[in-house]
Amino acid sequence: MELLQMSVRAMSEKIKSKALSVKETVDALQMKLAEKEPMLGAFLTINDMQLEQRMDEVQKGIRSGRYAGPLAGVPIAIKDNICTKGLRTTCGSRMLERFVPAYDATVVQRLQDAGMIILGKTNMDEFAMGSTTETSAFRLTKNPWNMSHVPGGSSGGSCAAVAAGEVPLALGSDTGGSVRQPAAFCGVVGLKPTYGRVSRYGLVAYASSMDQIGPIGRTVADCRALYECVAGYDEKDATTVKREVTKSLGHEPNVEERIEKLKGMRFAVPKEYLGEGTREEVREAVKGAMKLLDRNGAVVEEISLPLAEYAVAAYYIIACAEASSNLSRFDGVKYGYRAEGAETLHEMYVKSRSEGFGEEVKRRILLGSFALSEGYYDAYYLKALKVRRLIREAFDKVFENYDCILTPTAPTTAPKFGTALKDPLLMYLQDADTVAVNLAGLPAISVPCGIDAEGLPIGLQLIGNAFCEETLFAAAEGYEELRGKFPTAWEQGRERL
Protein backbone atom coordinates (compact mmCIF):
# COMPACT_ATOMS: atom_id res chain seq x y z
CA MET A 1 0.00 0.00 0.00
CA GLU A 2 1.33 3.43 -0.91
CA LEU A 3 2.73 5.10 2.19
CA LEU A 4 0.51 8.14 1.99
CA GLN A 5 -2.67 6.21 1.25
CA MET A 6 -2.71 4.93 4.83
CA SER A 7 -3.80 6.79 7.94
CA VAL A 8 -1.05 8.09 10.20
CA ARG A 9 -2.08 5.62 12.89
CA ALA A 10 -1.77 2.76 10.37
CA MET A 11 1.63 4.09 9.33
CA SER A 12 2.79 4.12 12.94
CA GLU A 13 1.41 0.60 13.49
CA LYS A 14 3.38 -0.67 10.50
CA ILE A 15 6.54 0.92 11.87
CA LYS A 16 5.97 -0.43 15.36
CA SER A 17 5.23 -3.91 14.03
CA LYS A 18 8.47 -3.78 12.00
CA ALA A 19 6.65 -4.11 8.67
CA LEU A 20 8.28 -0.79 7.84
CA SER A 21 11.40 0.79 9.30
CA VAL A 22 11.71 4.42 10.29
CA LYS A 23 14.42 4.86 7.68
CA GLU A 24 12.30 3.34 4.90
CA THR A 25 9.47 5.69 5.79
CA VAL A 26 11.67 8.79 5.85
CA ASP A 27 13.54 7.74 2.69
CA ALA A 28 10.27 7.34 0.79
CA LEU A 29 9.18 10.84 1.78
CA GLN A 30 12.59 12.31 1.02
CA MET A 31 12.35 10.93 -2.50
CA LYS A 32 9.02 12.71 -2.87
CA LEU A 33 10.57 15.89 -1.50
CA ALA A 34 13.48 15.71 -3.93
CA GLU A 35 11.05 15.19 -6.79
CA LYS A 36 8.48 17.84 -5.89
CA GLU A 37 10.17 20.60 -3.89
CA PRO A 38 11.99 22.33 -6.76
CA MET A 39 8.59 23.27 -8.20
CA LEU A 40 6.31 23.24 -5.14
CA GLY A 41 8.44 25.28 -2.72
CA ALA A 42 6.62 24.20 0.45
CA PHE A 43 9.74 24.04 2.63
CA LEU A 44 12.19 26.70 3.77
CA THR A 45 14.55 24.37 5.62
CA ILE A 46 15.00 20.62 5.32
CA ASN A 47 16.15 19.03 8.56
CA ASP A 48 19.26 17.40 7.06
CA MET A 49 21.60 17.93 10.01
CA GLN A 50 19.57 16.24 12.72
CA LEU A 51 17.71 13.65 10.66
CA GLU A 52 20.05 10.63 10.65
CA GLN A 53 20.57 10.79 14.41
CA ARG A 54 16.86 11.29 15.04
CA MET A 55 15.84 8.34 12.85
CA ASP A 56 18.23 6.12 14.77
CA GLU A 57 16.95 7.43 18.10
CA VAL A 58 13.30 6.83 17.14
CA GLN A 59 13.95 3.34 15.76
CA LYS A 60 15.72 2.38 18.98
CA GLY A 61 13.00 4.05 21.06
CA ILE A 62 10.31 2.06 19.29
CA ARG A 63 12.23 -1.14 19.86
CA SER A 64 12.69 -0.41 23.56
CA GLY A 65 9.07 0.64 24.05
CA ARG A 66 9.93 4.25 24.82
CA TYR A 67 7.93 5.39 21.79
CA ALA A 68 4.73 3.34 21.81
CA GLY A 69 2.11 6.00 21.09
CA PRO A 70 -0.16 6.30 18.06
CA LEU A 71 2.20 8.60 16.12
CA ALA A 72 5.56 6.96 16.88
CA GLY A 73 7.79 6.96 13.81
CA VAL A 74 5.55 9.28 11.79
CA PRO A 75 7.29 12.17 9.96
CA ILE A 76 5.94 15.71 10.18
CA ALA A 77 6.58 19.23 8.85
CA ILE A 78 6.49 22.32 11.07
CA LYS A 79 5.52 25.86 10.12
CA ASP A 80 8.54 28.13 10.31
CA ASN A 81 7.19 30.31 13.13
CA ILE A 82 7.38 27.44 15.65
CA CYS A 83 10.73 27.22 17.42
CA THR A 84 12.86 24.14 16.82
CA LYS A 85 16.05 23.85 18.82
CA GLY A 86 19.11 23.98 16.59
CA LEU A 87 16.96 24.28 13.46
CA ARG A 88 16.57 27.65 11.74
CA THR A 89 13.21 29.35 12.40
CA THR A 90 12.70 32.30 10.06
CA CYS A 91 8.98 33.22 10.20
CA GLY A 92 9.36 33.75 6.45
CA SER A 93 11.21 37.00 7.21
CA ARG A 94 14.61 38.49 6.40
CA MET A 95 14.47 39.68 10.00
CA LEU A 96 14.98 36.11 11.24
CA GLU A 97 16.84 34.65 8.28
CA ARG A 98 19.70 33.37 10.46
CA PHE A 99 17.81 32.82 13.72
CA VAL A 100 18.44 29.43 15.34
CA PRO A 101 16.32 28.87 18.47
CA ALA A 102 17.98 27.74 21.68
CA TYR A 103 14.90 25.77 22.70
CA ASP A 104 11.97 23.75 21.35
CA ALA A 105 8.39 25.01 21.39
CA THR A 106 6.22 22.92 23.71
CA VAL A 107 4.38 21.39 20.74
CA VAL A 108 7.71 20.38 19.21
CA GLN A 109 8.79 18.83 22.50
CA ARG A 110 5.53 16.85 22.56
CA LEU A 111 6.09 15.60 19.01
CA GLN A 112 9.60 14.51 19.98
CA ASP A 113 8.28 12.78 23.10
CA ALA A 114 5.74 10.95 20.91
CA GLY A 115 8.55 9.63 18.68
CA MET A 116 7.71 11.75 15.64
CA ILE A 117 10.33 12.91 13.14
CA ILE A 118 10.61 16.50 11.95
CA LEU A 119 11.37 16.56 8.22
CA GLY A 120 11.64 20.32 7.93
CA LYS A 121 10.21 23.80 8.32
CA THR A 122 7.57 25.10 5.97
CA ASN A 123 7.09 28.36 4.11
CA MET A 124 4.61 30.94 5.36
CA ASP A 125 3.51 34.53 4.95
CA GLU A 126 6.00 36.77 6.76
CA PHE A 127 5.24 36.59 10.50
CA ALA A 128 1.94 34.87 9.51
CA MET A 129 0.61 38.12 8.03
CA GLY A 130 -1.08 37.22 4.78
CA SER A 131 -3.49 34.81 3.13
CA THR A 132 -1.50 33.53 0.16
CA THR A 133 2.07 32.78 1.41
CA GLU A 134 3.19 35.41 -1.12
CA THR A 135 4.47 37.74 1.62
CA SER A 136 7.23 35.25 2.48
CA ALA A 137 10.60 36.92 2.02
CA PHE A 138 12.10 33.76 0.54
CA ARG A 139 10.03 31.93 -2.04
CA LEU A 140 6.64 31.27 -3.55
CA THR A 141 4.80 28.12 -2.58
CA LYS A 142 2.53 26.72 -5.29
CA ASN A 143 -0.85 25.08 -4.91
CA PRO A 144 -0.41 21.36 -5.72
CA TRP A 145 -3.82 21.33 -7.44
CA ASN A 146 -2.85 24.04 -9.90
CA MET A 147 0.61 25.54 -9.96
CA SER A 148 -0.49 28.97 -11.13
CA HIS A 149 -2.59 29.40 -7.97
CA VAL A 150 -1.55 30.22 -4.41
CA PRO A 151 -1.81 27.60 -1.63
CA GLY A 152 -3.50 30.09 0.70
CA GLY A 153 -1.90 31.30 3.89
CA SER A 154 -0.35 31.96 6.11
CA SER A 155 0.34 28.23 6.70
CA GLY A 156 0.60 27.70 2.92
CA GLY A 157 3.78 25.64 3.05
CA SER A 158 2.39 23.21 5.64
CA CYS A 159 -0.87 22.67 3.73
CA ALA A 160 0.82 22.38 0.32
CA ALA A 161 3.30 19.83 1.71
CA VAL A 162 0.46 17.63 3.03
CA ALA A 163 -1.62 18.07 -0.13
CA ALA A 164 1.31 17.15 -2.37
CA GLY A 165 2.07 14.01 -0.37
CA GLU A 166 5.45 15.22 0.86
CA VAL A 167 4.44 14.63 4.48
CA PRO A 168 1.44 12.96 6.12
CA LEU A 169 1.06 15.65 8.79
CA ALA A 170 2.04 19.24 9.47
CA LEU A 171 1.63 21.90 12.12
CA GLY A 172 0.45 25.40 11.26
CA SER A 173 -0.70 28.40 13.24
CA ASP A 174 -4.04 30.17 12.95
CA THR A 175 -4.58 33.79 14.04
CA GLY A 176 -7.36 34.70 11.59
CA GLY A 177 -7.78 31.54 9.51
CA SER A 178 -4.17 30.70 8.68
CA VAL A 179 -4.63 26.94 9.13
CA ARG A 180 -8.22 26.59 7.86
CA GLN A 181 -8.05 28.75 4.74
CA PRO A 182 -4.91 27.14 3.20
CA ALA A 183 -6.30 23.72 4.20
CA ALA A 184 -9.44 24.58 2.20
CA PHE A 185 -7.41 25.88 -0.76
CA CYS A 186 -5.22 22.76 -0.81
CA GLY A 187 -7.97 20.16 -0.24
CA VAL A 188 -6.76 18.95 3.16
CA VAL A 189 -8.13 19.09 6.73
CA GLY A 190 -7.01 21.80 9.18
CA LEU A 191 -8.08 22.52 12.75
CA LYS A 192 -7.89 25.71 14.78
CA PRO A 193 -8.29 24.54 18.39
CA THR A 194 -10.01 26.51 21.16
CA TYR A 195 -7.83 29.35 22.46
CA GLY A 196 -5.94 27.88 25.42
CA ARG A 197 -6.05 24.26 24.21
CA VAL A 198 -2.57 24.19 22.68
CA SER A 199 0.51 25.81 24.16
CA ARG A 200 1.89 28.87 22.39
CA TYR A 201 5.26 28.57 24.15
CA GLY A 202 7.80 28.80 21.36
CA LEU A 203 5.34 30.09 18.76
CA VAL A 204 6.65 33.43 17.50
CA ALA A 205 3.83 35.79 18.47
CA TYR A 206 1.72 37.71 15.95
CA ALA A 207 -1.52 38.50 17.83
CA SER A 208 -1.22 36.73 21.17
CA SER A 209 -4.89 36.82 22.12
CA MET A 210 -5.83 34.93 18.95
CA ASP A 211 -2.81 32.81 17.91
CA GLN A 212 -3.29 29.05 18.15
CA ILE A 213 -1.20 26.23 16.74
CA GLY A 214 -3.26 23.72 14.76
CA PRO A 215 -2.84 20.33 13.05
CA ILE A 216 -3.09 19.69 9.30
CA GLY A 217 -3.67 16.25 7.75
CA ARG A 218 -5.35 14.53 4.84
CA THR A 219 -8.30 13.31 6.93
CA VAL A 220 -10.12 14.34 10.10
CA ALA A 221 -8.78 11.24 11.88
CA ASP A 222 -5.17 12.17 11.02
CA CYS A 223 -5.76 15.72 12.19
CA ARG A 224 -7.30 14.48 15.39
CA ALA A 225 -4.37 12.17 16.14
CA LEU A 226 -1.97 15.12 15.90
CA TYR A 227 -4.26 17.37 17.94
CA GLU A 228 -4.36 14.79 20.74
CA CYS A 229 -0.56 14.66 20.69
CA VAL A 230 0.02 18.40 21.11
CA ALA A 231 -3.04 19.65 23.05
CA GLY A 232 -3.26 20.15 26.81
CA TYR A 233 -2.13 22.34 29.66
CA ASP A 234 1.43 23.64 29.64
CA GLU A 235 2.91 25.42 32.62
CA LYS A 236 5.06 27.47 30.24
CA ASP A 237 1.99 29.12 28.70
CA ALA A 238 -0.22 30.78 31.31
CA THR A 239 -3.11 30.97 28.85
CA THR A 240 -3.37 27.20 28.40
CA VAL A 241 -6.29 25.73 30.25
CA LYS A 242 -6.30 22.87 32.74
CA ARG A 243 -8.97 20.82 30.98
CA GLU A 244 -8.67 17.21 30.01
CA VAL A 245 -8.15 16.45 26.32
CA THR A 246 -10.26 13.44 25.35
CA LYS A 247 -8.05 10.83 23.70
CA SER A 248 -9.42 8.37 21.19
CA LEU A 249 -6.88 5.78 22.47
CA GLY A 250 -6.33 4.09 19.16
CA HIS A 251 -10.03 3.53 18.51
CA GLU A 252 -11.00 4.73 15.07
CA PRO A 253 -14.81 4.64 14.76
CA ASN A 254 -16.17 2.58 11.84
CA VAL A 255 -18.43 3.94 9.10
CA GLU A 256 -21.69 3.20 10.95
CA GLU A 257 -20.46 4.74 14.19
CA ARG A 258 -19.36 7.89 12.40
CA ILE A 259 -22.70 8.38 10.68
CA GLU A 260 -24.67 7.38 13.77
CA LYS A 261 -23.06 10.21 15.74
CA LEU A 262 -24.57 12.72 13.32
CA LYS A 263 -28.13 11.69 14.11
CA GLY A 264 -29.88 14.46 15.98
CA MET A 265 -26.80 16.69 15.89
CA ARG A 266 -27.87 20.29 15.37
CA PHE A 267 -26.16 22.48 12.77
CA ALA A 268 -26.75 26.21 12.34
CA VAL A 269 -25.98 27.91 9.02
CA PRO A 270 -25.72 31.71 9.34
CA LYS A 271 -27.14 33.21 6.16
CA GLU A 272 -24.58 36.06 6.31
CA TYR A 273 -21.83 33.59 5.37
CA LEU A 274 -23.58 32.58 2.15
CA GLY A 275 -24.29 36.08 0.88
CA GLU A 276 -23.16 38.05 -2.13
CA GLY A 277 -19.44 37.99 -1.37
CA THR A 278 -19.38 34.20 -1.61
CA ARG A 279 -18.73 32.68 -5.03
CA GLU A 280 -21.64 30.66 -6.41
CA GLU A 281 -19.71 27.38 -6.66
CA VAL A 282 -18.63 27.70 -3.02
CA ARG A 283 -22.19 28.41 -1.93
CA GLU A 284 -23.48 25.39 -3.85
CA ALA A 285 -20.83 23.10 -2.35
CA VAL A 286 -21.78 24.20 1.19
CA LYS A 287 -25.47 23.76 0.42
CA GLY A 288 -24.65 20.28 -0.86
CA ALA A 289 -23.01 19.48 2.48
CA MET A 290 -26.06 20.86 4.33
CA LYS A 291 -28.38 18.59 2.34
CA LEU A 292 -26.17 15.57 2.92
CA LEU A 293 -26.20 16.10 6.67
CA ASP A 294 -29.92 16.79 6.71
CA ARG A 295 -30.72 13.61 4.76
CA ASN A 296 -28.72 11.55 7.24
CA GLY A 297 -30.44 12.50 10.45
CA ALA A 298 -28.79 15.80 11.41
CA VAL A 299 -30.86 18.92 11.98
CA VAL A 300 -29.67 21.74 9.71
CA GLU A 301 -31.25 25.16 10.14
CA GLU A 302 -30.56 28.59 8.72
CA ILE A 303 -29.98 31.31 11.30
CA SER A 304 -28.84 34.93 11.32
CA LEU A 305 -25.57 36.18 12.83
CA PRO A 306 -25.68 39.89 11.94
CA LEU A 307 -22.47 40.77 13.80
CA ALA A 308 -20.46 38.53 11.46
CA GLU A 309 -20.25 41.48 9.08
CA TYR A 310 -18.17 43.43 11.64
CA ALA A 311 -15.65 40.70 12.36
CA VAL A 312 -13.05 41.74 9.77
CA ALA A 313 -12.97 45.34 11.02
CA ALA A 314 -12.63 44.30 14.68
CA TYR A 315 -10.10 41.61 13.82
CA TYR A 316 -7.72 43.84 11.87
CA ILE A 317 -7.66 46.53 14.55
CA ILE A 318 -6.94 44.02 17.31
CA ALA A 319 -4.50 41.89 15.30
CA CYS A 320 -2.50 44.91 14.10
CA ALA A 321 -2.45 46.44 17.59
CA GLU A 322 -1.10 43.23 19.11
CA ALA A 323 1.35 42.77 16.23
CA SER A 324 2.76 46.27 16.71
CA SER A 325 3.48 45.42 20.33
CA ASN A 326 4.74 41.86 19.75
CA LEU A 327 7.05 42.76 16.91
CA SER A 328 8.66 45.62 18.81
CA ARG A 329 11.12 43.02 20.14
CA PHE A 330 12.83 42.89 16.72
CA ASP A 331 15.30 45.69 17.17
CA GLY A 332 18.54 44.22 15.81
CA VAL A 333 20.17 44.03 19.26
CA LYS A 334 19.79 40.53 20.72
CA TYR A 335 18.88 38.56 17.61
CA GLY A 336 17.58 39.06 14.10
CA TYR A 337 18.61 41.36 11.27
CA ARG A 338 20.79 44.38 12.04
CA ALA A 339 21.29 47.13 9.46
CA GLU A 340 24.78 48.40 8.71
CA GLY A 341 25.95 51.97 9.14
CA ALA A 342 23.63 53.36 11.82
CA GLU A 343 25.27 55.98 14.05
CA THR A 344 22.76 56.17 16.89
CA LEU A 345 20.76 53.51 18.71
CA HIS A 346 17.45 54.92 17.47
CA GLU A 347 18.74 55.01 13.90
CA MET A 348 19.85 51.40 14.24
CA TYR A 349 16.38 50.31 15.43
CA VAL A 350 14.65 52.16 12.59
CA LYS A 351 17.03 51.02 9.83
CA SER A 352 17.07 47.40 11.02
CA ARG A 353 13.30 47.20 11.23
CA SER A 354 12.65 49.08 7.97
CA GLU A 355 15.08 46.86 6.06
CA GLY A 356 14.31 43.62 7.88
CA PHE A 357 10.49 43.63 7.63
CA GLY A 358 8.51 43.27 4.42
CA GLU A 359 5.75 45.55 3.19
CA GLU A 360 2.74 43.77 4.70
CA VAL A 361 4.36 43.47 8.12
CA LYS A 362 5.26 47.16 8.13
CA ARG A 363 1.73 48.08 7.08
CA ARG A 364 0.23 46.17 10.01
CA ILE A 365 2.75 47.52 12.54
CA LEU A 366 2.03 51.09 11.43
CA LEU A 367 -1.73 50.53 11.62
CA GLY A 368 -1.43 48.92 15.04
CA SER A 369 0.83 51.67 16.36
CA PHE A 370 -1.72 54.21 15.18
CA ALA A 371 -4.69 52.34 16.72
CA LEU A 372 -2.92 52.20 20.10
CA SER A 373 -1.72 55.80 20.06
CA GLU A 374 -2.90 58.59 22.30
CA GLY A 375 -6.13 60.11 21.02
CA TYR A 376 -7.12 57.10 18.92
CA TYR A 377 -6.92 54.19 21.42
CA ASP A 378 -10.55 54.42 22.59
CA ALA A 379 -12.01 55.07 19.15
CA TYR A 380 -10.29 52.14 17.47
CA TYR A 381 -8.74 49.57 19.81
CA LEU A 382 -11.17 49.75 22.71
CA LYS A 383 -14.13 49.91 20.34
CA ALA A 384 -12.90 46.75 18.59
CA LEU A 385 -12.53 44.94 21.93
CA LYS A 386 -16.13 45.84 22.83
CA VAL A 387 -17.41 44.55 19.50
CA ARG A 388 -15.35 41.44 20.12
CA ARG A 389 -17.35 40.75 23.29
CA LEU A 390 -20.62 41.18 21.41
CA ILE A 391 -19.43 38.74 18.74
CA ARG A 392 -18.48 36.19 21.39
CA GLU A 393 -21.89 36.61 23.06
CA ALA A 394 -23.64 36.14 19.71
CA PHE A 395 -21.80 32.84 19.25
CA ASP A 396 -22.65 31.78 22.82
CA LYS A 397 -26.31 32.33 22.04
CA VAL A 398 -26.15 30.16 18.93
CA PHE A 399 -24.51 27.35 20.91
CA GLU A 400 -27.42 27.34 23.38
CA ASN A 401 -29.41 25.65 20.59
CA TYR A 402 -26.88 24.12 18.23
CA ASP A 403 -23.84 21.81 18.34
CA CYS A 404 -22.03 23.26 15.35
CA ILE A 405 -22.08 26.16 12.93
CA LEU A 406 -21.54 25.46 9.23
CA THR A 407 -20.01 28.03 6.85
CA PRO A 408 -17.69 28.08 3.85
CA THR A 409 -14.04 28.27 4.97
CA ALA A 410 -13.39 30.99 2.40
CA PRO A 411 -15.65 32.88 0.01
CA THR A 412 -13.64 31.74 -3.04
CA THR A 413 -11.18 29.05 -4.03
CA ALA A 414 -7.41 29.73 -4.31
CA PRO A 415 -6.66 32.85 -6.39
CA LYS A 416 -3.92 33.11 -8.99
CA PHE A 417 -0.51 34.44 -8.03
CA GLY A 418 -0.20 38.19 -8.06
CA THR A 419 -3.89 39.00 -7.69
CA ALA A 420 -4.49 39.08 -3.92
CA LEU A 421 -1.85 41.56 -2.78
CA LYS A 422 -2.92 44.40 -5.05
CA ASP A 423 -5.48 45.81 -2.64
CA PRO A 424 -4.91 45.22 1.10
CA LEU A 425 -8.54 45.91 2.06
CA LEU A 426 -9.89 43.43 -0.51
CA MET A 427 -7.37 40.88 0.73
CA TYR A 428 -8.45 41.38 4.35
CA LEU A 429 -12.12 41.03 3.36
CA GLN A 430 -11.35 37.55 2.02
CA ASP A 431 -10.82 36.51 5.66
CA ALA A 432 -14.48 37.23 6.46
CA ASP A 433 -15.39 33.57 7.04
CA THR A 434 -12.58 32.73 9.43
CA VAL A 435 -11.66 35.70 11.66
CA ALA A 436 -14.75 35.72 13.92
CA VAL A 437 -13.68 32.32 15.27
CA ASN A 438 -10.36 33.77 16.45
CA LEU A 439 -12.00 36.83 17.99
CA ALA A 440 -14.29 34.51 19.96
CA GLY A 441 -11.58 31.94 20.82
CA LEU A 442 -13.63 29.06 19.39
CA PRO A 443 -12.47 25.84 17.71
CA ALA A 444 -13.13 25.32 13.99
CA ILE A 445 -12.14 22.79 11.37
CA SER A 446 -12.00 22.97 7.58
CA VAL A 447 -12.92 19.84 5.60
CA PRO A 448 -12.90 19.59 1.79
CA CYS A 449 -16.45 19.64 0.40
CA GLY A 450 -16.13 20.11 -3.34
CA ILE A 451 -14.05 21.06 -6.37
CA ASP A 452 -14.76 24.07 -8.57
CA ALA A 453 -14.80 24.25 -12.36
CA GLU A 454 -11.09 25.11 -12.39
CA GLY A 455 -10.33 21.96 -10.46
CA LEU A 456 -9.57 23.74 -7.17
CA PRO A 457 -10.82 22.44 -3.80
CA ILE A 458 -13.56 24.09 -1.73
CA GLY A 459 -13.57 23.98 2.08
CA LEU A 460 -16.45 23.53 4.53
CA GLN A 461 -15.90 25.14 7.94
CA LEU A 462 -17.43 23.62 11.07
CA ILE A 463 -17.29 25.87 14.14
CA GLY A 464 -17.76 24.40 17.62
CA ASN A 465 -18.40 25.74 21.09
CA ALA A 466 -15.34 26.44 23.26
CA PHE A 467 -13.52 23.24 24.30
CA CYS A 468 -15.95 21.10 22.26
CA GLU A 469 -13.33 19.77 19.83
CA GLU A 470 -14.80 16.31 20.47
CA THR A 471 -18.15 17.37 18.95
CA LEU A 472 -16.34 19.05 16.09
CA PHE A 473 -14.38 15.89 15.26
CA ALA A 474 -17.55 13.76 15.43
CA ALA A 475 -19.40 16.13 13.09
CA ALA A 476 -16.47 16.46 10.70
CA GLU A 477 -15.82 12.71 10.60
CA GLY A 478 -19.50 12.00 10.02
CA TYR A 479 -19.61 14.50 7.16
CA GLU A 480 -16.37 13.10 5.73
CA GLU A 481 -17.89 9.62 5.70
CA LEU A 482 -21.05 10.80 3.95
CA ARG A 483 -19.05 12.82 1.40
CA GLY A 484 -16.86 9.87 0.51
CA LYS A 485 -13.17 9.80 -0.24
CA PHE A 486 -11.86 13.17 -1.39
CA PRO A 487 -9.30 12.94 -4.21
CA THR A 488 -5.75 14.02 -3.55
CA ALA A 489 -3.94 16.49 -5.77
CA TRP A 490 -1.74 13.75 -7.20
CA GLU A 491 -4.59 11.29 -7.78
CA GLN A 492 -6.45 13.94 -9.70
CA GLY A 493 -3.54 14.14 -12.07
CA ARG A 494 -3.69 17.89 -11.61
CA GLU A 495 -0.38 18.07 -9.90
CA ARG A 496 2.28 19.15 -12.34
CA LEU A 497 5.32 18.61 -10.23
Partner: protein, 95 residues
Amino acid sequence: MIKIDEAVLEKAELLAKLKVDASERERTMNEMEKLLLYTEKLNEIDTEGVVPLSHGEPGEATLREDEVTNPDGKVQTLANVPELRNDCPVVPKTV
Protein backbone atom coordinates in the same frame (compact mmCIF):
# COMPACT_ATOMS: atom_id res chain seq x y z
CA MET B 1 -13.72 60.37 9.60
CA ILE B 2 -10.02 59.84 9.88
CA LYS B 3 -7.55 61.64 7.65
CA ILE B 4 -4.01 60.28 7.45
CA ASP B 5 -1.57 63.06 6.60
CA GLU B 6 2.19 63.45 6.93
CA ALA B 7 1.93 64.40 10.63
CA VAL B 8 -0.10 61.29 11.51
CA LEU B 9 2.21 59.04 9.49
CA GLU B 10 5.28 60.53 11.17
CA LYS B 11 3.79 59.89 14.60
CA ALA B 12 2.99 56.28 13.68
CA GLU B 13 6.53 55.84 12.29
CA LEU B 14 8.03 57.14 15.51
CA LEU B 15 5.96 54.76 17.63
CA ALA B 16 6.61 51.85 15.27
CA LYS B 17 10.33 52.61 14.86
CA LEU B 18 9.92 52.37 11.10
CA LYS B 19 10.67 54.72 8.23
CA VAL B 20 8.56 54.68 5.07
CA ASP B 21 10.53 55.59 1.92
CA ALA B 22 9.70 58.90 0.24
CA SER B 23 8.44 57.07 -2.84
CA GLU B 24 6.05 54.96 -0.72
CA ARG B 25 4.61 57.64 1.56
CA GLU B 26 1.65 58.70 -0.53
CA ARG B 27 0.53 55.12 -1.16
CA THR B 28 1.05 54.16 2.50
CA MET B 29 -1.07 57.09 3.70
CA ASN B 30 -3.85 56.24 1.23
CA GLU B 31 -3.86 52.57 2.23
CA MET B 32 -3.86 53.35 5.96
CA GLU B 33 -6.71 55.78 5.49
CA LYS B 34 -8.76 53.33 3.42
CA LEU B 35 -8.28 50.54 5.96
CA LEU B 36 -9.08 52.77 8.95
CA LEU B 37 -12.15 54.17 7.23
CA TYR B 38 -13.37 50.62 6.71
CA THR B 39 -12.91 49.81 10.41
CA GLU B 40 -15.04 52.82 11.31
CA LYS B 41 -18.06 50.70 10.37
CA LEU B 42 -17.72 49.43 13.97
CA ASN B 43 -19.31 52.74 14.99
CA GLU B 44 -22.61 51.43 13.61
CA ILE B 45 -22.77 49.18 16.69
CA ASP B 46 -23.91 50.54 20.02
CA THR B 47 -21.29 49.43 22.56
CA GLU B 48 -22.43 51.64 25.42
CA GLY B 49 -21.75 49.79 28.67
CA VAL B 50 -20.07 46.82 26.95
CA VAL B 51 -16.97 45.55 28.78
CA PRO B 52 -14.01 45.13 26.37
CA LEU B 53 -12.95 41.52 25.76
CA SER B 54 -9.20 41.12 25.53
CA HIS B 55 -9.16 37.33 24.97
CA GLY B 56 -11.76 35.26 23.14
CA GLU B 57 -11.64 32.52 25.71
CA PRO B 58 -10.60 34.26 28.90
CA GLY B 59 -9.64 31.36 31.08
CA GLU B 60 -7.93 32.09 34.37
CA ALA B 61 -4.22 32.56 33.91
CA THR B 62 -2.44 29.64 35.53
CA LEU B 63 0.75 30.70 37.19
CA ARG B 64 3.71 28.52 38.13
CA GLU B 65 6.40 28.87 40.73
CA ASP B 66 8.91 31.57 39.87
CA GLU B 67 11.80 29.16 39.47
CA VAL B 68 14.30 28.71 36.68
CA THR B 69 13.59 25.36 35.05
CA ASN B 70 15.13 25.87 31.61
CA PRO B 71 18.54 24.34 31.02
CA ASP B 72 21.40 26.75 30.41
CA GLY B 73 21.14 27.86 26.79
CA LYS B 74 23.57 30.75 27.03
CA VAL B 75 25.86 29.68 24.20
CA GLN B 76 23.02 29.00 21.75
CA THR B 77 21.21 32.19 22.77
CA LEU B 78 24.24 34.42 22.36
CA ALA B 79 24.99 32.78 19.01
CA ASN B 80 22.04 34.77 17.62
CA VAL B 81 23.36 38.18 18.71
CA PRO B 82 24.34 40.23 15.62
CA GLU B 83 27.36 41.85 17.32
CA LEU B 84 28.85 40.52 20.53
CA ARG B 85 31.70 41.63 22.80
CA ASN B 86 32.52 39.90 26.11
CA ASP B 87 29.17 38.09 25.96
CA CYS B 88 27.31 41.40 25.66
CA PRO B 89 25.41 42.71 22.61
CA VAL B 90 27.11 45.78 21.15
CA VAL B 91 25.02 48.78 20.08
CA PRO B 92 25.95 52.22 18.71
CA LYS B 93 27.13 54.72 21.28
CA THR B 94 24.22 56.10 23.28
CA VAL B 95 25.92 58.91 25.24
